[in-house]
Symmetry: C2
Subunit: 446 residues, 2 copies
Amino acid sequence: MNELTCALAAALPDGRVLTDPDVVDSYARDRTFVPPGRALGVVLAQSRDDVVATMRWASEHRVPVVPRGAGTGLAGGATAVDGCVVLSLARMTAIRELSPQDEIAVVEPGVITADLDRAAREHGLMYAPDPSSYEISTIGGNLATNAGGLRCVKYGVTRDSTLGLEVVLADGRVLNTGRRTMKGVTGYDLTGLFVGSEGTLGVITAATVRLRRAPREMATVAAEFTSLRDAAAAVSAIVAAGCQPSMLELMDRTTLKAIDDWKNIGLEPSTKAMLIAQAEGSADEMAALCGAASFVAVSSTPEEAAELIGIRRLAYQAKERLGQCLVEDVCVPRSVLPEMITTIEEVAARHGVMIATVAHAGDGNVHPVFVFDRGLAEPPEEVWTAADEVFRAALDLGGTLTGEHGVGLLKKRWLGLETGPVAAELHQGIKQVFDPLNILNPGKAI
Amino acid sequence: MNELTCALAAALPDGRVLTDPDVVDSYARDRTFVPPGRALGVVLAQSRDDVVATMRWASEHRVPVVPRGAGTGLAGGATAVDGCVVLSLARMTAIRELSPQDEIAVVEPGVITADLDRAAREHGLMYAPDPSSYEISTIGGNLATNAGGLRCVKYGVTRDSTLGLEVVLADGRVLNTGRRTMKGVTGYDLTGLFVGSEGTLGVITAATVRLRRAPREMATVAAEFTSLRDAAAAVSAIVAAGCQPSMLELMDRTTLKAIDDWKNIGLEPSTKAMLIAQAEGSADEMAALCGAASFVAVSSTPEEAAELIGIRRLAYQAKERLGQCLVEDVCVPRSVLPEMITTIEEVAARHGVMIATVAHAGDGNVHPVFVFDRGLAEPPEEVWTAADEVFRAALDLGGTLTGEHGVGLLKKRWLGLETGPVAAELHQGIKQVFDPLNILNPGKAI
């Protein structure tokens, strides 16, 4: 330890500060390929007071602080910067309160998202936002990125389930935002501002989240298509018919092939896309709306439904068997989903890059996964060129650079294309209000 | 016209600026009793460019600008301040775009909320937020206050339906926030920050709003109860059973009596409360959950449903027949709704004040309406004393000062009780970033 980290350790209970270089390195990255900076140390916060002490110390010594959940981020939001301390919230795992009557929970940032969902289900409730990583990602990280997920086509994203926050500000002061009620309009929406701000405005130490009644009967349908356009047409038909799907997932052939090679799902050579849809009510109606499908499977039991959805949940792991993956995250208006997917295929062909695409199709949120050689330290030039073309195409189609992963470090060079100079100035102004010393996750998100 | 307003008129197309004192006075108030200041004039904006020219002029001459929709606000947000110009957006009434495929619309602020809903319904969609005023209030005012409504128990408030905004900043620059997609996390949530900021951060000149599939079959139930507690218990039962009501309205006896005196709805002497619930699906289940009701009516046709809901929509007008009304707007966790309503009754009795209460019960959002003598210019002291006790009780119960009306001028003296000094400092800091000259609706909301 040096003088700085000694002072930090002295301000905290024993065992909270780690400075062993190998250990510190293991906290320096999320799941992106952005090369991390060298951190001074890691704080394993176990309480709000630990966070307060860390931020006071950081303000006093002007040390950058990089807050961190489970490190499952896909945009470099939790990547260490030179001279920082990494502030891990992963040990703050208390569900402080769960009120079935009020359908709310008060949770600490280190709670695993799926654990909160399971706790809610004991009362017939659910925590709706379910990023694909929900078995390993934390509420804190979900809040930082305003994470989406499969169910958000019906229930909205993390911000839509967040009623209030306890936040430690850059100078160590504690702020409570929002409320415990379903509605409330007192003051500016500071809660919404913190959600999605990627740790640049404050450190969230608790969140009051909204729970929802778990649906009673779910119908699940999986349909195979011989063209992506037919699959996209079924997406539109299911939405337009008012089925209100709580899941509407699309996988392209490259993704299905990767799954089939691994798990032998019996993929037909002619299948170009699969759609997995889930809704309350009748499966037959959704199945009928997949008119052009070459094959439709309907679940009649929860076990069968889990099996159908399980195929989708294998997608990332299956791709990781093929090589290293740059997981991207554009979102377009639903009507141009076919154009977006076609463009991705063209870009892949033009640059000789393997792109396997899954989409939260009901939201127009498309994840092109760029697969590249396992031996490389980071994505090769042609992958970045292809990604650049995909990002620009999404913007040209009226879409956004990131539907649910965040900007982090990874997308900062494209940020201005979407938000423009006026927004950039306002972002910097807001940052200055909350973090005048620029110590909170500097260089990220905005 | 004086020199200032002449310069303003010269910067705008003919006929946009009104300075006749009587006319200006008619734009100086909303529906509250806050005494307005004296405005220099009124701008009737017809385009974004009119707003840009007005804000440039206002910045140059440091003139306060009070943006205004239909003037139906209940917190003094649109009340004129001394030396201001009132900027009316009521003539910007274009629905610029309505895309059934993408389930979005791009609308100008002067569009009447119910008109947007009707336009959406032509395509099987709806615009969900429906403040009680939705036939006379505008989208712009709804955005400024983050208005709620009857349906928001299921579909959320105005912010939840807002994807992006076109905003004219204090200095006349134009900012586009947000997106046209269902999801998106690029940059800070400026869209959410403007919504509910009551015209203090910028002037909204267009909004991209989310439309939703209109539900297919609606079941409507009206139930009468001989005690408020029984009615509140039915609220909890309906929510807990997973009926997912899109309307769950409670009226107390004072309200029902006012309606009965006017429209002869056959109110029984023993009836203390009425609940009106609407949901997709079966009315029988909801009716059964109103087990303690003394009478239950179930609609079997849309006409009958409209009649049942019509009783609720008469509530405010019925009360206005009794005297002048101070309409209040606390919101509490649903589990303490009975305590909140009991407290209101006790406060009414203690101070000899007539309070008629309606509640968006599913949200815990309670509107105690303080009725006072028609001859008075503003609410008498005992009404304010009673209101103060109601506000403090709501906060003590874990609630908020305002569920959907906003802070405006009316609630500024209570604001600090809810948000505290740290939030106040951040509010002022944000205000300074967006409006360094403090010309946008100064003195309101924060």
